[in-house]
């Protein structure tokens, strides 16, 4: 029960708890808070895997900007309480059962597949974290074209948001 294991299980527990709260919450604002919890615990897991820069980017962009956008939309549109329709109990139970079956199937497949076992059995590698300098070398040399393409994508998104905002007038 060394410290990395404890941190992993705590973060995994928080992530799954957040995902369950996302499904079970009655108000959308609680679902948004649960998703923020999932993202922050995933950022800690990235830190555990040695990807510091990605963890910081996840918190800054995902949990700090995208989710703020979601929270604003929920507040401004006053999205109502999630309805609980009572169509049929059979559909509800069958759905839950199939959902659980899907999740367990995916998890089992991941754990016992060939790739999972290859990866789990002693892959040689150092235990240091990834240096930002190396990541930026990759980003600006090998992956330069996708980088520029995503910056154009962001520009298109900004223009799209502006056009949509103007049309409401």
């Amino acid at each position: 029960m060394t410290l990395p294991f404890i941190v992993f299980f705590v973060c995994a527990f928080l992530a799954v708890l957040g995902a369950l709260t996302l499904i079970l919450a009655r108000e959308p604002i609680h679902s948004a808070l649960a998703l923020i919890l999932v993202m922050v615990s995933l950022a800690v897991l990235y830190l555990l895997l040695g990807a510091e820069f990605i963890a910081a980017v996840q918190v800054i962009v995902y949990a700090g900007a995208i989710m703020v956008l979601f929270v604003f939309v929920i507040m401004l549109l006053n999205a109502g309480i999630e309805e609980r329709t009572d169509f049929s109990k059979l559909a509800k139970y069958a759905g839950l059962l199939l959902g659980m079956f899907l999740i367990l199937f995916l998890a089992h497949w991941m754990a016992h597949s060939l790739i999972g076992q290859q990866v789990a059995s002693g892959v040689a590698g150092t235990n240091v974290s990834v240096a930002t300098r190396d990541l930026s070398h990759q980003l600006f040399q090998t992956y330069l074209f996708p980088f520029e393409a995503t910056s154009i994508l962001i520009l298109i998104a900004i223009l799209g948001a502006l056009v949509l905002a103007k049309k409401d007038e």
């Binding site: 108000e27 808070l33 910081a56 918190v59 700090g64 703020v68 507040m75 401004l76």
Partner: protein, 404 residues
């Protein structure tokens, strides 16, 4: 003792965290005293004067008052989010102090550097990550109060915070380009040395535009005057903390001051050379500046005690004088003197920047919300981008000239 030697990282980290928490809480309380005194003196009056000698026990009295106030929850408010918001704001605001270096990493105890809690190689990005989460405290507080004024105030305040966050981050990238690293201690080390033998090589000299953009964005980011429309009392009743009372309100109050401290510490590290002394290391007489300052303070307080004060103030002043004398003499011990150099200069610079903050609050009138937003997006963002491009050009110029 075996546990201590086997787990040095854990023990030293816990000790640092406990000490830092204690110091931080005291500083937050006395920052309110500092602000009230400075604003009062700028406005030709005294400020808190009666509660303790020179008003020094005023924060204690305020704390006790906050604890005894009635703790209401507005009807119809979402209880979970209502209680979560101030806790989130305060926790996030206090977490960034773990990344701030108070002194050189050569000061060590049990093999761990003592004056920084978490010396990570991307410290700057973590600080930005934590401050960008600070928007939630404000937005959720406004939403959960189930009332119009807090909702509007909270939305305005959080929109302001996320707008100025972009300009803040861009203003700082110039410094990152100059020092080539995101680690705080390495950034400070790259600011050693002098231009022309007497101007210190601090980043404020080449990056003066960056510093001004950073400072203005920081004032807007922490919702302080002149950008504090969302929480001004005459505009929106009270903004996002209208419906909060007693201890939760105190938590928002403390979170705002903690944000201010964080941003000032960051400005010191990035632009003013952190814990570096402005005097060259060869002037060893300057190492005695901290104890000299404390002993001078003790002399002044002794004069105050003997000549001016009466009654209970005299007793309080005697206590403070003896305290200053003891600490001043303790600083003459060589080990304490070496440890004290870095934090002394760091805290002095942070204090100066916070004095500027309070001075700005006392002097300038409030800006209207649309003026504020257009200033952030239409002026600060392009200027920060231009600063970044010019810095990058200057950095890359030798390579271009050689190949061109």
């Amino acid at each position: 003792m075996d546990f201590v030697t086997q787990h040095p990282v854990l023990v030293v980290s816990l000790a640092k965290i406990v000490g830092l928490m204690f110091l931080l809480m005291t500083t937050l309380a006395y920052l309110s005293w500092f602000e009230r005194k400075v604003i009062a003196h700028i406005q030709s009056r005294w400020g808190p004067y009666y509660v303790g000698v020179h008003g020094l026990l005023q924060p204690l009295a305020d704390g006790v008052k906050f604890l005894f106030k009635e703790d209401l929850t507005p009807p119809g408010a979402d209880r979970f989010v209502y209680i979560l918001a101030p806790m989130l704001a305060l926790t996030l605001a206090m977490t960034t102090i773990a990344l701030i270096p108070f002194g050189p990493p050569t000061v060590q105890w049990l093999g761990q550097s003592t004056l920084i809690v978490a010396d990570s190689s991307i410290g700057l990005m973590f600080v930005f990550a934590i401050t960008s989460m600070g928007v939630y405290g404000v937005a959720l507080a406004g939403w959960s109060s189930n009332s119009k004024y807090p909702l509007l105030g909270g939305l305005r305040s959080s929109a302001q915070m996320i707008s100025y966050e972009v300009a803040l981050t861009l203003a700082v990238v110039g410094v990152v380009l100059l020092s080539g690293t995101l680690n705080f201690n390495a950034m400070i080390e790259s600011q050693r040395g002098y231009y022309y033998y007497f101007i210190p090589r601090w980043n404020v000299v080449p990056q003066i535009v960056g510093f001004l953009c950073y400072f203005l964005s920081a004032i807007a980011e922490t919702n302080r005057a002149p950008f504090d429309l969302p929480e001004g009392e005459t505009e929106l009743v009270g903004g996002f903390h209208t419906e909060y009372s007693s201890f939760k309100f105190a938590m928002f109050f403390m979170a705002e001051y903690a944000n201010m401290i964080t941003v000032s510490c960051l400005a010191t590290i990035l632009f003013f050379g952190g814990w570096l002394s402005p005097f060259p290391d060869s002037w060893t007489v300057m190492r005695y500046l901290p104890p000299a300052g404390l002993l001078a303070l003790a002399v002044y307080l002794a004069y105050d005690t003997v000549v001016l004060a009466r009654g209970i103030y005299r007793i309080q002043l005697i206590v403070v004088t003896i305290g200053a004398l003891v600490i001043g003499l303790a600083c003459l011990h060589p080990v304490v003197l070496t440890v004290l150099q870095g934090p002394f200069w760091f805290l002095l610079k942070v204090g100066l920047i916070m004095f500027f903050y309070v001075w700005t609050r006392a002097t300038l009138p409030r800006m209207r919300y649309d003026q504020l937003m257009s200033f952030g997006w239409k002026f600060l963002l392009p200027v920060s981008l231009a600063n970044l491009m010019i810095t990058a050009l200057v950095k890359v110029w030798p390579l271009l000239v050689n190949h061109g």
